[in-house]
Amino acid sequence: MESASISVSERRISTPSAWSQVLGFNVIWAVALSIGGYALGHWLGSKIGINSAPQTETDQDDVAILMGLGFAVLGWMIGLGFFNYPLARIAGRPATLREREEHGAWRYFRLCTDHKVVAIQYLVAVLFFFFVAGLNAMFIRSELTSANATLIPAGNYLTLVGLHGTMMLMMMSAGVLGPLGNYLVPLMIGSRRMAFPRIESLTMWLTVLAGFVLLSATLLGGFPTGWTGYAPLADQAAAGIDSYIVSFALIGISLALVGVNMIATVMTLRAPGMHWNRLPIFVWGMVTTSILAVLAAPVLLAALIMVVFDRTVETSFFITSSGGSPFLWDELFWFFGHPEVYILALPGFGIVLEILPVFARKPLWGYRLAVAGMFGVALMSFMVWQHHLFMSGINSDLRPFYMFTTELISIPTGIIFLNGMGTLWKARIRFTVPMLFALAFFFNFLIGGLSGVFLSDVTSDVVTHGSYFVMAHFHYTIMGGLVFALMGGIYFWLPKITGFNLNETLGKVHFWAMFIFFNLTFFPLFAAGMLGMPRRVDSYNAELHTLNVFVSVSAFCLGLSMLVFLINLVWSVMFRRERAEANPWQSKSLEWQLPSPVPVYNFERIPTITSHPYGYGTPEAPAVADFGPHVIAGEGGLA
């Protein structure tokens, strides 16, 4: 553990000269070297694969493309300077900590080991790709305003759906862990950093690269598989699937590393007195999510590597006629895929349970139960994956088992609901913007969860499988759940992160528009699904036309509501710049006892934790921490 006695002035916090910043390792070099790397790798690959049947007959040299993408990743990492430190160590230089901790705008464009900078980089990146994927959703809904394929040439619709789904899931997997996890976990546990600061930065830059690599599918003929990459379609598909494979693999690596970093941080860097039962519930959400990420993401990576081999060196993992099985992909993918959907749920639980006590002014109800619930969800999420394969010809004797485990998982999930409701019980609620989002989370997730029961039931899944019912279900859990929670989290913590207040009125406009149009968009789609509208098809039965036009119009309004958020964000942070108080919500949690924005070194002295942070409503509740002789902010928050 870092010693509390290192004084701030001894730490190297530098502002390098402008020239050394432009010429040093940064994202400009990364872009240049990754493009150069692609060219080099492609050339090498085309030499290696020369005269192979695929290369001469198919005009699609996957060896070259995949080598190109691989070298692009290397170039990206070299350009950002990720090899400097390992090479220096190999050359015998001494170990250092956080060598890139500095001031100035340039630190946002390079490898930075300040966890707060990485978190902000993450936030901007995730929001950017979220915008791209959201734009794709608007295009999807535009096409679906007509019962026939009209707007978009038929061959591009599938790629569009694949880009939307894959991008959303890739970015949202990192959407809370990346920005909020990296920013808040060290502050909440009383640490000055994450356990592995360079790896932390690596995960963020790999996520950015993954986003662009996925978009490169548009230059390589697109991909027809949606986000699930099913075999043997993935084995036969156009070269765009290579982009899907590499980008998802990058996210897999990034997620696993984020998980390791998060778990190591919470295990080793807690301040004195931060016992496990004083850990904020948000941190528990991050820990359980990380456990899933560490265990599930490598399986995805392995499966993707198998597809790469099938496509390049003519193995036959997924090819029946040569002894493989496409079913193997289904198993491996969903063994990752189901935990993945809880990677998209647990962070939301963490955020809302953290927000509720602050605005209910009551302690979190059933803290230990909530932790148990999160672990229950995490553990059980590895035992249900075959519910995605009920209709795919699995051994029918296995169906009742997976139906049972799936329905069982609603018990720990239900516990989280009880924690929420128990906290709200008889509370005098302050309906701030973050609180509204947190409350909406429960409403939406309830509908998502209840519709999930129909999908886990084998007999009703026969009807709903592969339809818009599924589509509506997972948008209720992911968008209605995670994205609403994330929005709540952003409104809640952004004053701390940026030091500026977001506009409350615009926030409320955003919330109500998003909440109403979200439900108007996705609720009717349950009906569309029950009436037989299939997923991933650009045309549908003419009888469903009116319903779809209605859905599309409200989807556009939903899109506009996100613009309100964007305008609020840009205007409040860049133009209005109204200084936020250190603790505007009167929270007791540790991060709010620091000034806004948080200084580079976080804590002048590592505090000693004296209580859990949920002592609301009792005036005699103990202070959460002892900050030593120099209390930094602390106005009002500690009482």
Partner: protein, 215 residues
């Protein structure tokens, strides 16, 4: 001032993303209209080529279509009027690769359930001789196209092929349905080099599949 610059850069970036996506989504082969026949019918003249010969996929097998000016275009999207007799002529320049499902070697959905091959009326062909099919599943049209003689001296090189090169001429007609967009495709797994012959051109509109847009 700096904030304004950042916001403006941001706005430009967003606009670029939007434009790029519209550009990408709208890319694809253009539709061509059938020509009006003298008897009120609509005529489609197509050819199948063993390899397209041009960027981006010179080795891919492909369909081509003749536009009303008589020029060969690389597209598989055809506009035809509703409830009309459509007369189709296909010049088939490719060798056989055989049907996996022999059922598709029989003609269906055409006028009289027949096709003519080099002038001879047929109800179907030997499944192993099939080079491609022209199939519109929604209206049950299925026409198998036999491959050229493997020993022919002058096989076609690159598209568009000319009538001087080895080919089979297939004709048939069918009635177009009501307005709508109907998918058509080839059912012979003819994508050489791809897994099961089903990748690449078989999955790509403009090569072995397309749309009949009826209005």
């Amino acid at each position: 001032m700096r904030a304004l610059a950042v916001a403006a850069t941001f706005g430009v970036l967003v606009a670029l993303v939007v434009v790029y996506f519209i550009f990408f989504l709208e890319s694809g082969p253009a539709a061509i209209a059938a020509t009006r026949g003298s008897d009120g019918s609509a005529d489609l003249t197509l050819q199948t080529v063993p390899s397209y010969g041009h960027h981006p996929f010179p080795d891919w097998v492909s369909y081509m279509a003749k536009d009303p000016q008589g020029k060969w275009e690389h597209t598989t999207i055809f506009k035809v009027p509703a409830h009309t007799l459509i007369k189709v002529t296909i010049y088939q320049y490719d060798g056989d690769s055989g049907l996996r499902n022999a059922f598709l070697s029989g003609v269906s959905g055409t006028t009289g359930d027949i096709e003519t091959i080099n002038g001879t009326v047929e109800h179907g062909i030997n499944a192993n001789d099939a080079a491609h099919t022209f199939t519109i599943p929604d209206i049950d049209v299925n026409v198998p196209l036999p491959g050229i003689n493997p020993n022919a001296k002058n096989p076609c090189g690159t598209a568009p092929c000319s009538l001087a090169e080895a080919h089979n001429t297939i004709t048939f007609s069918f009635r177009s349905p009501g307005p709508g967009s109907y998918r058509w495709q080839c059912f012979v797994p003819c994508a050489a080099g791809f897994l099961f012959g089903n990748g690449g051109p078989m999955q790509t509109i403009g090569y072995m599949s397309g749309l009949i847009e009826v209005s």
